[in-house]
Symmetry: none
Subunit: 226 residues, 2 copies
Amino acid sequence: MNETYKILIVDDEKDLCEILQFNLASEGFDIEVAYSGEEALAKTIDRFDLLLLDVMMGGMSGFKLADKIRKELGLSVPIIFLTARETENDMLTGFNVGADDYLSKPFSIKELVARIRAVLRRGKSVEVKAKVITIDSMELDLNRKSVTIDRTPVLLTRKEFEILSMLVLHKGKYLSRQEILDRIWSDDVIVTERNVDVNIARLRKKIGEFGQCIKGRSGYGYCFEN
Amino acid sequence: MNETYKILIVDDEKDLCEILQFNLASEGFDIEVAYSGEEALAKTIDRFDLLLLDVMMGGMSGFKLADKIRKELGLSVPIIFLTARETENDMLTGFNVGADDYLSKPFSIKELVARIRAVLRRGKSVEVKAKVITIDSMELDLNRKSVTIDRTPVLLTRKEFEILSMLVLHKGKYLSRQEILDRIWSDDVIVTERNVDVNIARLRKKIGEFGQCIKGRSGYGYCFEN
DNA sequence: TCGTTTTGTAATATTTCTGTAACAGGGGTG
DNA sequence: CACCCCTGTTACAGAAATATTACAAAACGA
């Protein structure tokens, strides 16, 4: 009923991050923080309901990050930009990239929370765009959480589907068992890392030849590669 | 007696959507927004009393969308088109598709509201076209909220009928218990998700062999598929 | 109002999903 | 080679989710 929204904050000012994290957490949001665009991309962005991105960051800028998320990952997560600059230009770049809102520092927490709720509410009534990933003859529909191979549906369980999509979204990167556990299993359940193995095995069996695309490497974890 | 009218706005200009949403909501309408034709189709169009469609949209045009709604879904919801273009040609296409009215941007909110009320008033007195969905030998009449199988009436209760039509209108898509609850039960009543199960069970029993078309999948919800 | 129908809850049966354990194989290392 | 660590797979049992039934409360109509 009252679902917890997951928000990712990406900002290299650690102090600000802490303040935001504390305040938003106490508003009932589930917060995660990344201190750079690179760090953010290492996460499965897909599982957040909203991103708060700082425009000015060392390394990758917030806009660059947003662009990657939209274009390369093909995700349409709502994004709110935080910026110290107030030029028209920035605003424009932000919205071109598909920003859902824009907030100039300094801003009040109250205002931020209001904007966040507005964006989430908006997203609620709107059906998300098709998020379909195609790998040869295999299609993952992230919305419907369905998989087809040669147009034939493959019945995956929840965990199997989540593991598969996590691997596919990070195609080419080895994800450790721990990373997979952290992301897919809820915090309060404690399970063995071996569990990932078992689920991977089941998954492999179900997706036939594509099972070979899931590489396991000793000491590294798993990776999808075709 | 003073029923709230549900209006769906489909337009890819988010700013305009917001303005419309705000203004129409404060006129007492119940507004939902979709930012593309595809998004709109993902909704149960059936539950709206009026559609406001932008003609020019990325992806599916408003005309295309209207056409699908009329032909494929077989719905006769009133439609008002919004357009920046004012050519005769457009007007014609619009009315061919079964437009109820036509408004060129820029228009005043006041004018829009007037037209909306006019269309709704008109729809009220006029006999609505049949909205009948046929699945093999099963017929759902969305107007009369009646179902027949082999011409024989099947007496469904209100909840049963709504669940069935929701599933049928989203044929092939798994709908979670929560989605079903949200749409069919009013917000202020709090009921268990188990309730959906019970109603599905009753429904299945009543519609005989078609009960098999209602697939239940652990962790995903229910789906109609034949 | 009464009787009927509809709807919700709770309890129970059943199915599906998931975690653990156990075992088998692979590959490196002493 | 023998050993150990890591991985892949299978089988089983416990857990979770779902289906169904029975009953009570609420809504509805006459």
